[in-house]
Every structure is written in structure tokens, then in C-alpha cells.
Symmetry: C2
């Protein structure tokens, strides 16, 4: 087998962003899709000579499908992934992996019981400059990494949103959705289990009634630490700190955050605002021109014993004992290609994925720990959260 026949569940924004990587990877054949919007399924079927199924069960019953890419709303991830794994499919699931630690643990068990790969992504932990920095760090050339600093000020909460995205119990709010990125990035850089989480969580706009900001400290097993700062309420735009490149890798004008707020002013949530959601796949869909730079998630500085690495969407500034070097990272061939590569290598070559189910579970446990520590003020050990959740899944 040298091609994966992929079934796509959910032809929304996530699929649209991953599509360029799916198209250009010769190891991927888009074989089937399920989406409640028939116009989306129909175009998918026509464009990729594939089957548009009317239900998930029908898609899973298609024995020609090797793996399923779940890009549906967050609250459906767990049930759909578990059904796909039980049907013998490998699964790639968008982040956040699911909306609770218990769901994630059940997904991990389902994958292990079925002997199938479960990969969680894309997240910004897959960004090529982050991968390059992790490789540099792991080489030991600059000594051990001791402290990571991550900071991102975005307009996340004021982009058009589905109601569930502003409801923490349904996987909304910035902790599950956005901290998952920062946690993935710093975990990839440090390469150690997270043993403690201490956090402040802020919720200060009743009109967008969920957590919108956090500041967190992560403690790692080897004694290193990371600080995460995130505001989805931001008026300030920290893309300034990475050369005015947007999260998706495009050049960006300053001052967009006020425009974001203006665009939703006066709209009613369920109706008018939903109508402005990011483009989904369908009859009138056209792909964006490719982004000239890598995706990113704000300012990231990895402090090693003998260098600070500042990770940018274009490369890595290496501030070392003897001065500053620049390590360019080649522009992306396609966004999110690394995720598809990880899926293909796992399914075709049995290469264990970095971002497997247990990886995703630990990231979600860190997010849960941020919420819990934000409420209680106490330090929370995500490893305890993980073992408790896995224990609950044992038959």
C-alpha cells in the first residue's frame, strides 16, 4: 500500500485550510466525505471523483477507506473518532482533540484497542520553524532548554463565531481552542512531560461569555518551565512581534483588530454573525493563494543554557554566546503539509507519530489543568488528570 484513501468528516474551515496539503501529497487520495451540507458533499464527490456519503456510518462502512480525517465541530470529535477507530480506520482529528479529558482518554483507548493510529492536528506545534527549533534544541548544541516564553495577543473572540465556540462546555473559549496550540508548541520544544500547571484565566466580556485570556506556567519533568500568555480579547496585535505576518502565514497590515470588532458590531449571534463564519467548502469555494510564510502562534523564545532561540514564521534567530545568527526556514510548499506527512508515515510506514493520541491527551489535560488552576489558584498536575481519565476507561 502506498496510497491512503482518506474519508473526510466535515467540509468546513478546518478542511479548507488543510486541503492544499491533502491535494499535493501523492500519498493521499481523497476517497469519501460526509458533511450535512449536500452542496459541499456534491462538489467534493465531483472534484475528487469520490463518494459523498449521507451519514458517518455509511462512510465508515466503505471498506476502500483507510483513514478518516475528522474536521467537524469540536463537540463531535470524540464520538466520530471512536466510531471510525472501531470500524478499523486510522484517524486524524483536528485540535482540540475533544471537549473533555474523559473523551480524549476514551479516544486513546479506542485507538489502542483497535490497533489503529490516532493523530491530533494540525496545531501550531507542527509549524516547520517550531520543528526546526526542536531539532536544534535536541541536538544539545546550545545546552539544555530551561525556559520557554510564549505570548500571543489576538482578536480570536471577535471573529464571527458559532455559539458553541463561545461555550466552554462545548469545547469553546480560548483555553481548549487556543492554549492547545501554545501547549503543543512548548511541549515540542522542551520534549518532556508536563508535571505542573499554574494559571490565571480571565473572562471579561459578558457579550462573549467564555474564557478569553490566560497566563500560565508549565513545569516540566526535567525542571524547565514555560510561561504562556494569551489574550483573545486583544486590542494590541502581537503579530507585530513576528514581522507583521498573520497566524496563517500571510503579510498583515497593522490595525486589523479594530476592524474585526467593527465587522461583528450589532450582529445577532446565531443569525447574522454565523453567516459571516470563515469560508467552508462548497460550490463557490476557491482556494486562497498559498501563504508565503509559515504559520505561527505569536512570540516564542526558547531559552537554552547557551542561546535564546526566537522562533519566527520565516526562520529562527539564534542569539548565542558570540552573537546572533539567522537560520532561515524554507518557505512552506503547502501549509500543514507536516500533518499529512505524519499521517502518511504512520499509516504507510508504521512510523510512530509525534502527535499521537497520548500526545493529544496530554495537551488537553494541560488545558483542563489551566482551567482548574485558574479557578482554584492551586498547582495542578496534568499527569494525575491523565491517569485518572485513563483509569475510568479501563473495562
Amino acid at each position: 500500500m502506498n496510497t491512503i484513501r482518506l474519508g473526510v468528516v466535515g467540509l468546513g474551515r478546518g478542511f479548507v485550510l488543510t486541503l492544499p496539503a491533502l491535494r499535493r501529497d501523492p500519498r493521499i487520495a481523497l476517497g469519501a466525505a460526509f458533511d450535512p451540507r449536500p452542496e459541499a458533499s456534491d462538489r467534493f464527490a465531483a472534484e475528487f471523483s469520490a463518494t459523498g456519503y449521507a451519514s458517518l456510518d455509511d462512510l465508515l462502512a466503505d471498506s476502500a477507506i483507510d483513514a478518516v480525517y475528522i474536521a467537524s465541530p469540536h463537540e463531535w470529535h470524540a464520538a466520530q473518532a471512536i466510531a471510525a477507530l472501531a470500524a478499523g480506520k486510522h484517524v486524524l482529528v483536528e485540535k482540540p482533540m475533544a471537549v473533555s479529558v474523559a473523551e480524549c482518554a476514551a479516544m486513546v483507548r479506542a485507538a489502542e484497542d483497535a490497533g489503529r493510529f490516532l493523530i491530533v492536528g494540525p496545531s501550531h506545534g507542527f509549524d516547520e520553524p517550531v520543528r526546526s527549533a526542536a531539532t536544534l534544541i535536541a541536538s544539545g548544541r546550545f545546552g539544555r532548554v530551561r525556559m520557554v516564553t510564549a505570548l500571543n495577543f489576538t482578536d480570536f473572540l471577535y471573529r464571527p463565531r458559532r455559539p458553541a465556540e463561545l461555550d466552554t462546555s462545548r469545547g469553546g473559549g480560548v483555553v481548549y481552542s487556543q492554549a492547545a496550540h501554545q501547549v503543543d508548541v512548548v511541549r515540542r520544544l522542551v520534549g518532556q512531560p508536563v508535571t505542573g500547571v499554574r494559571a490565571f484565566v480571565g473572562s471579561w466580556d459578558a457579550a462573549r461569555g467564555c474564557e478569553g485570556a490566560y497566563q500560565a506556567l508549565l513545569d516540566f519533568a526535567d525542571g524547565s518551565g514555560a510561561s504562556l500568555t494569551y489574550s483573545g480579547y486583544a486590542h494590541y496585535d502581537s503579530d507585530e512581534l513576528v514581522g507583521w505576518i498573520s497566524e496563517l502565514g500571510y503579510p498583515k497590515q497593522p490595525g486589523r483588530h479594530a476592524a474585526t470588532r467593527e465587522a461583528i458590531a450589532g450582529l445577532d449571534r446565531a443569525g447574522q454573525e454565523a453567516a459571516k463564519l470563515g469560508r467552508t467548502f462548497g460550490p463557490r469555494f476557491a482556494e486562497d493563494p498559498p501563504a508565503p510564510h509559515h504559520e505561527h502562534f505569536g512570540l516564542i523564545i526558547a531559552s537554552c543554557e547557551r542561546a535564546d532561540l526566537k522562533i519566527l514564521p520565516t526562520g529562527i534567530e539564534i542569539h548565542g554566546d558570540e552573537g546572533t545568527d539567522w537560520l532561515a526556514v524554507d518557505p512552506p510548499a503547502a501549509p500543514r503539509a507536516a500533518v499529512i506527512d505524519e499521517l502518511a508515515k504512520a499509516v504507510l510506514d508504521s512510523a510512530p507519530p509525534v502527535h499521537g493520541g497520548r500526545w493529544g491527551l496530554e495537551t488537553v489535560a494541560c488545558c483542563a489543568a489551566i482551567l482548574e488552576s485558574g479557578r482554584s489558584g492551586a498547582a495542578v498536575d496534568p499527569q494525575t488528570i491523565i491517569s485518572n481519565a485513563l483509569e475510568q476507561t479501563t473495562p
Copy 2:
């Protein structure tokens, strides 16, 4: 009384940095000094028509002296301040106020028992852009402040140092010396008691054997939070983030951190390195040209409900609901003039200082809490540290 006759204890680097403000404030007359270096005392006496005393006791016995400015090494602050207060002098003491919370509490009691003012400064909490931002925040124009982010990457640990500056038990290390600045800044912006401290503390260069970096979360009584990140090991220079202006307000070239390391490479600590310490007052001393910008302590963003304020050495970027405004802050007439103004208003007009003894005690308690939380991983309440320390001082 409309002039304060000031006695200066310690004619070192602190005094040199404050001298321009002392010179130009008509309410200050430099009346006496004590410094173990006779060449420094002699020049002081000659230049200011003042008395150079051979001991602190002699200076304190001078009834013409109204107030004492203590700018000696940190480990002497407490004993000298308490002696000065007992002698009926008002006291301005450099930060860190002292090297332990117990010492600070004893200083607070001494001031209150003597009925004299005790002011702790300068610190970057006095910087004029910070004061302007605090005033803006307190106006309520942007709603409440909910989260403050402070980040500073410096070469602090690699500048020439006295051995005590690298010894935590003697007031060295970055927590007492540098966190005191960040804590002062965020406390000034939030204007609420600190009720919890959670921290990571890093120590990763055995050749400079003290804490050199930290990441801390501060919880405030009103539910707002602050994140502090500091590295004194830094290869990266965060002055980049404030327009390449140095901590003292001068234009700065990129790439200075490597030069700092190079300058001390191969020097033995007590001898050759000590010889390169920052200039002190003495026969060959000449004042620097005035700094064109305000002093600063790195990146500071105050997130209010309706605006993020980015505080720079030249003014404040106000990122609000409708876009970005720039509030220029007039260039400084003299660095550190605000400290001398606070001293003069207290002594001459009985105006309660912002940065009084209890303020300084809380900042040092926060520093102690950072060290304790860094060791234990637990949240530490600085208010408990303060009450316990004050209780110990009760007769």
C-alpha cells in the same frame, strides 16, 4: 522649611544615577555624605559645599540634615535606615529595600515608631510612562485592568558584579534585584494588593551562582493577574521590543549582549571583574549626557476591558476598540526626578508617598514569594508573609 538638607550614604552607582535629579531639584540641598572612599567624600564635600563624614553615626548626629538617601550595598540598607530613622531623619532607600522581609518589616516599624517618612526608590515603578499609564487606568476610561504582561530579557548577570550581587543571601540574584522592578511596575498599574504568587525560578549558570531568571504569576485582590518573565542570562535583548532604547533611556545598538559576556570573559571575580564595576562618584567622575528617553524595564502591556496599553520609554500606545492612539510622554527633564519629587512632597508637604515603607515591604514580600513558590511549586500569599514579618517586630 522649603529645602531638604540631604545626607547621602554611599556614593556608588545608585547615587551617580540619581545625582542629576538631586542637582536640579531646588528643594534639595546636598548637605553631607558618608562613603568609605575618602576620595569620593572629598569631592562631594568640595563640589556641594557639604560635609564628608567618616562614619554614618557622625552624619546622623548632624542636626542640620533632614533626610538621608541610602545608596549603599543592599545588605547594609536595613541597619543604616533604622539608625537614620531612630536619629529622626526621613529616609530614601534604594531598591531592593533590604535583603529579607524581616529586615524590611523592621524598617517599616522603625519609620512608624519614629514618625518619619521612609521611601523606597528609585525603581522602574517610578518611570513616568508607567505613572501616566497608571493614571489612565485609574481614570476608568478603558474599564478595569484585568491582566498585565511584563517581559524583560537582559544581560544583567554578565555585567561586572560584586560577589554579593551573585549571592541571594546577601540580596543578590535577579529576584530581589530585578523582580523588584517588575513587581513595582505591575503593582503601580493594577493598584491592588497582591494576594498570590506562583513562580518558576531558574538558575542555570554555575559560574554566576544565583537565580538568574524567573517566570511568575501575580494574583491581585480584585481578581486581575499579571505575568512576569525575566532572564538575566539573556542572549536575546528585549530592548528590541521597545524601540532599541536601553533601560536607562539611551539609544542602543543591537547585539550588545554578546559584548557584555566578552567583556568579563576570563576575569577573576573579586579582582579584575570588580575593577570594571559601573562608575562611582569620585575625583574623575563626569556625568553622562542626559538620556533622551525615559528609563524602562522591558515590554509591558496592561490589558484593560476596552484597551491594551503598551507602555514604552517614549509614551503609551493605546490599542482601543476603535483603533490605536499614541500618547506621547514628554522626555524626562532628569532621570529619576519622580523619586526626588516624592521625597520632597512627603518631607516638605507631608504628602503620603506612593512608594512608602509598606509599599516597599509588599514588593520585597512578593520577591520572597517568588523564591518560595519557585522552590515549592505552591502558591504563596505575600500578605501572609507581610503580617508574619510585622508581627515579629512587635515589641
